[in-house]
C-alpha cells in the first residue's frame, strides 16, 4: 500500500466549496505544504497523532463532564488534527468586513439605548426592537466607558458553494470558544513539529494581552493597577475551562458571584485581607442572571446590586449589558441597513437572506418553500430548536408551523446554505465535513483588533450542517497565513 493511500479517493461533496480540494480535485495552493507533510506519514502514524492530541487534552483537564446515570464521564471536545487554512487575501477581507460590521453594531447599541435615531428615521421598525426579549429598558441612557458596548465579539462566518463568505450570526453577548483557538494551536505545535513556521502561519498568542489591555483601559478609576476580575458561573458551567484559561493567561482573578458584594454602589470582592474594590468585570454570566434585584430574582450566579454600581459608573462590565438586542436573529437582517445608515458604506460581508416570519408575506413565502429553508428561533442558540427543512419529516414541519403561528415574531427563516467542507481525519482516512469560522474581535479605546485565527467548528456527523458542540460538533486549528 502506498503511503499516499489515505489521501486518495477523497469523496468530494457535490455543490459544496471544499477548502482543500478544487472542483477538479487539485489541491489548493495553501494546502500544498500540509499535504506534502501528511504524505510522509502513514495512516497509522496520523492515528497516533490523533491519540496524542486526545491525551494532551485529557491530561490538561480540557474536558467537560457529561452526567449519565449518576456517573460523571469526562469528555473532550472532539478535535480534528488536519488544520483549516485561510489565505492572507481572504483574511484581510474578513478583517475589514468584521471591523465594519462591529463598528455599525456598536453604534446601533449606543443609538438604541439613547436617541433611537435609527427607529425614528424608519430604518429599523420599532416593534422589532421592543418585542426583543434582550432589549433592556434598564440600559436606557446608561453611560458606558468610551461608548464601547461590544468589547468581545465572535462573528460566525460560513462559505457558500462558490466560496463567498457570509455572516451567519453575530455573537455580541458572551461568545465562547477562544480558549480552543489557543489550545488547538498549542496541540498542533506538538502534532506537526516545524510545519507551522514552514507554512508561515500567523500567531494567535497575543489574544489575552490585547484583551487585558482593553479591560485595563476602561477601568472607571484611572489608577495604575485596577482590579480586574473574570466572573464565571462556576465549575459546572460547560465553558469553565475557558474561564480558567483566560483568567490565568491574563493574570486576573477568577471569581464567582458569591465572591463579590455590593455596598454603596461599589463592587468589592471578599478576600482573606478583607474587601477589595473591583474596577472591571469581564463577565461570562448572561444578563438575565447578573443581578437578582433587577433581572431573574432566583439567580444565585450573579451579584445583588451590581447593576446599580454599573449604572453609577463605579464598575465597568464587559460585554455591556443589553447587547442581546443587537445579535438577535430578527435584528440580524437589518445589519446591512445599519452599516449604510451609520457608516454610509456598502457592507463588505454578506448576510444570509433572512425572512421575518412576523411579516405575513414573508411567512407565506417560507411556508411555501419550507423544504429549502432553515427556520430558527430568534432568541435560540447552541443549535437547539431549529427546523432543517430539507431533512425534516412532514409531521415535524406541521408541528413547527403551529408553533410559528402562535408567535411568529420569535422565528426567522433562511434558505439552506450549504456550508463549505474541509477534509477531516476520520477512521484513518480523509472525509469531507462541513465547517464554519468564528474569528474573535476585540474592541478597546484604540479601536478594533482581530487576532489572526479563530475557531473552526466542524459538523462531525456525516452530512450534518450543524457545527455546535452541543450537537456533535468538533473543532480544527485555524491557520491564517502571513503571505
Amino acid at each position: 500500500m502506498s503511503e499516499l493511500d489515505f489521501l486518495n479517493h477523497y469523496p468530494q461533496t457535490p455543490d459544496t466549496w471544499d477548502e482543500m480540494f478544487s472542483s477538479d480535485n487539485n489541491i489548493r495552493p495553501p494546502y500544498q505544504k500540509v499535504i506534502e507533510y501528511l504524505s510522509t506519514e502513514s495512516a497509522d502514524g496520523l492515528a497516533k497523532k490523533e491519540d496524542l492530541a486526545k491525551n494532551l487534552f485529557m491530561s490538561q483537564g480540557i474536558t467537560f463532564t457529561v452526567y449519565n446515570s449518576g456517573e460523571g464521564i469526562e469528555k473532550i471536545f472532539p478535535f480534528d488534527i488536519i488544520p483549516r487554512i485561510i489565505t492572507a487575501q481572504d483574511w484581510s477581507f474578513i478583517e475589514k468586513g468584521i471591523k465594519q460590521r462591529l463598528k455599525a453594531l456598536n453604534t446601533f447599541l449606543k443609538d438604541i439605548y439613547s436617541n433611537m435615531f435609527i427607529v425614528k428615521d424608519g430604518v429599523v421598525p420599532a416593534d422589532i426592537i421592543y418585542s426583543c426579549p434582550h432589549f433592556l429598558r434598564e440600559m436606557y441612557k446608561v453611560k458606558v466607558p468610551y461608548d464601547i458596548y461590544v468589547h468581545i465579539a465572535g462573528i460566525d462566518l460560513i462559505r457558500d458553494f462558490d466560496g463567498t463568505f457570509y455572516v451567519l450570526e453575530d455573537n455580541l453577548r458572551t461568545p465562547s470558544g477562544v480558549s480552543y483557538m489557543l489550545e488547538n494551536r498549542e496541540i498542533t505545535k506538538r502534532l506537526f513539529p516545524d510545519l507551522l513556521p514552514q507554512c508561515k502561519v500567523r500567531s494567535v498568542t497575543e489574544y489575552p494581552e490585547i484583551l487585558y489591555k482593553n479591560l485595563k483601559a476602561i477601568s472607571p478609576r484611572q489608577i495604575s493597577n485596577p482590579t480586574i476580575v473574570l466572573l464565571s458561573p462556576g465549575s459546572y458551567n460547560s465553558a469553565y475551562f475557558e474561564h480558567t484559561t483566560l483568567a490565568r493567561l491574563m493574570g486576573v482573578e477568577l471569581v464567582e458571584g458569591r465572591d463579590l458584594l455590593v455596598e454603596n454602589q461599589t463592587v468589592y470582592m471578599k478576600t482573606t485581607n478583607g474587601r477589595q474594590q473591583v474596577d472591571v468585570i469581564y463577565r461570562r454570566v448572561d444578563d438575565e442572571y447578573l443581578d437578582p434585584l433587577v433581572f431573574n430574582p432566583d439567580s444565585i450566579l450573579g451579584v445583588a446590586g451590581i447593576m446599580s454600581a454599573y449604572k453609577k459608573g463605579n464598575v465597568a462590565i464587559v460585554n455591556a449589558v443589553g447587547n442581546g438586542v443587537a445579535d438577535d436573529k430578527a435584528i440580524y437582517s437589518y445589519v446591512p441597513q445599519m452599516i449604510r445608515y451609520y457608516l454610509n458604506e456598502e457592507p463588505l460581508l454578506k448576510n444570509v437572506p433572512t425572512y421575518q416570519l412576523g411579516n405575513k408575506d414573508e411567512r407565506e413565502y417560507v411556508f411555501a418553500n419550507i423544504n429549502s429553508m432553515v427556520v430558527k428561533r430568534t432568541n435560540g442558540s447552541g443549535g437547539y430548536g431549529m427546523l432543517m427543512g430539507h431533512v425534516a419529516s412532514d409531521e415535524e414541519i406541521h408541528q413547527y408551523k403551529q408553533e410559528i403561528n402562535s408567535d411568529p415574531r420569535q422565528f426567522i427563516a433562511q434558505p439552506t446554505i450549504s456550508l463549505s467542507a474541509a477534509p477531516c481525519f476520520i477512521n484513518k482516512a480523509l472525509h469531507p465535513r462541513r465547517i464554519d469560522l468564528r474569528p474573535f474581535a476585540l474592541c478597546g479605546p484604540d479601536g478594533i483588533e482581530i487576532v489572526p485565527g479563530g475557531l473552526t467548528r466542524v459538523a462531525l456527523n456525516e452530512g450534518s450542517l450543524v457545527v455546535n458542540s452541543s450537537q456533535g460538533g468538533g473543532s480544527k486549528d485555524t491557520w491564517v497565513l502571513a503571505s
Binding site: 469553565y240 464567582e256 482573606t272
Partner: protein, 311 residues
C-alpha cells in the same frame, strides 16, 4: 487573595496529604498482612479514616484485597482515594489560575490514574504493591512540582497550613488507635512486629533505628512520633510548621481576627514542646492525644471562620 480561593487551596492540600497518608498505611499494612501467622485484621486501619457500619467492617476486615478496593476505589467510602482525589481536583479546578499549569496537570493525571481500568483490575488480581507504588509516586510528583513551581506567597502558606494540619491529625490518630489496641491486647507489644509496622506506616522506621539503639520500646516510639523536632511526620514538627506558615501569612495579612488564631497555635505548640514522655504517661496517652486533636480541630474551625467564611 479571595477567601474562596484560600479555602480551596487549603482543602486541596489537606486532601492530597490525606491521600498520601492513606496510601502509605495501606502499603505497610498489606506487607504486614502477608507476614501474619494469624488472621490479619484491617479493622484499625479502616477505622482511622472512616466509620462505616459494623456489618461492612465485619464483611471485609480479614480480606486484604477487599479492604484495598474499599480504601482505594470504593465509591461508598468518603475517604477512599478515588473520592479524595476527586475532591482535591474539584477544589483545584476552580482555582486553576492560582496553581501552576504543571501542578494542575499532575492532579489531572493522578485523577485519571485512579480511574484507570488497568489499575482497578490489577488491584483485584495483580500485585497491589505495584498499584500503591504507582499512586504514591503520583503524590510525590505533586509535592515535587509544588516545591519547584509554586509561588511562595499567601496561597502557598494556606496550602502548607492545610498540609501540616492534616498530617498532625493523621499522626495523632494513628498513634491513638494503635496504642489503644495495644492497651486492650498487651501481648502485641511483647514482640517487635507490632511496633515495627507502626513505625513503618509512619515512615519513621529508619529514623527510629538511628535514634534509639536498644530495640523497640513503646515509650521511645511515642517520643519519636509526638515530640521529635526533626521527624517530618511527628506531631511537634507539623505543629511547628503550622506556626511558621501562619506567622508568614500574618506578615501581609494582619486582620484583627488573626490574634485569636495566633494564640491557639502558639499555645498548642508550647503544650507539645514542653511535654515529656513521663508527663504524657502521667496524664494518660489517650487523654493527651485527645486534647491535641481537639486543639487541631479548633484551629481548623478558626481558619474557616476568620479566613474562608462567606459573610
Amino acid at each position: 487573595m479571595l477567601s474562596r480561593v484560600a479555602s480551596n487551596l487549603y482543602w486541596l492540600s489537606r486532601y492530597m496529604e490525606r491521600s498520601d497518608g492513606i496510601l502509605r498505611i495501606l502499603k505497610i499494612n498489606y506487607a504486614s498482612s502477608q507476614d501474619a501467622l494469624n488472621e490479619f485484621s484491617w479493622r484499625p486501619v479502616i477505622r482511622i479514616y472512616d466509620s462505616p457500619e459494623e456489618a461492612i467492617i465485619r464483611d471485609i476486615e480479614f480480606k486484604s484485597r477487599d479492604v484495598l478496593q474499599y480504601m482505594i476505589t470504593g465509591k461508598s467510602n468518603p475517604n477512599s482515594i478515588i473520592n479524595i482525589i476527586t475532591l482535591a481536583r474539584e477544589n483545584a479546578r476552580s482555582v486553576q489560575d492560582h496553581l501552576t499549569k504543571d501542578l494542575w496537570q499532575c492532579l489531572n493525571e493522578y485523577y485519571h490514574l485512579v480511574n484507570d481500568k488497568r489499575l482497578i483490575s490489577s488491584l483485584k488480581k495483580g500485585d497491589p504493591v505495584s498499584v500503591l507504588d504507582e499512586l504514591i509516586k503520583q503524590v510525590m510528583l505533586y509535592y515535587g512540582i509544588g516545591e519547584v513551581t509554586m509561588e511562595r506567597g499567601e496561597g502557598r502558606s494556606f496550602m502548607n497550613i492545610g498540609k501540616y494540619l492534616e498530617r498532625s491529625i493523621q499522626s495523632t490518630d494513628i498513634l491513638d488507635i494503635k496504642f489503644n489496641k495495644a492497651n486492650s491486647d498487651p501481648d502485641l507489644l511483647r514482640g517487635t512486629t507490632y511496633l515495627r509496622y507502626l513505625l513503618l506506616s509512619l515512615g519513621a522506621y529508619d529514623l527510629y533505628l538511628k535514634t534509639y539503639r536498644q530495640g523497640f520500646d513503646p515509650e521511645n516510639v511515642l517520643e519519636l512520633v509526638v515530640l521529635n523536632n526533626d521527624f517530618p511526620r511527628s506531631v511537634l514538627y507539623s505543629v511547628n510548621n503550622i506556626f511558621r506558615y501562619f506567622e508568614r501569612l500574618k506578615q501581609n495579612n494582619d486582620i484583627v481576627e488573626s490574634k485569636e488564631l495566633s494564640f491557639m497555635i502558639g499555645k498548642l505548640q508550647s503544650t507539645i514542646k514542653y511535654s515529656t514522655v513521663e508527663s504524657i504517661t502521667h496524664q494518660g496517652l489517650h487523654a493527651y492525644l485527645g486534647q491535641i486533636k481537639k486543639d487541631l480541630y479548633g484551629i481548623g474551625n478558626a481558619l474557616n471562620l476568620n479566613y474562608f467564611a462567606y459573610a
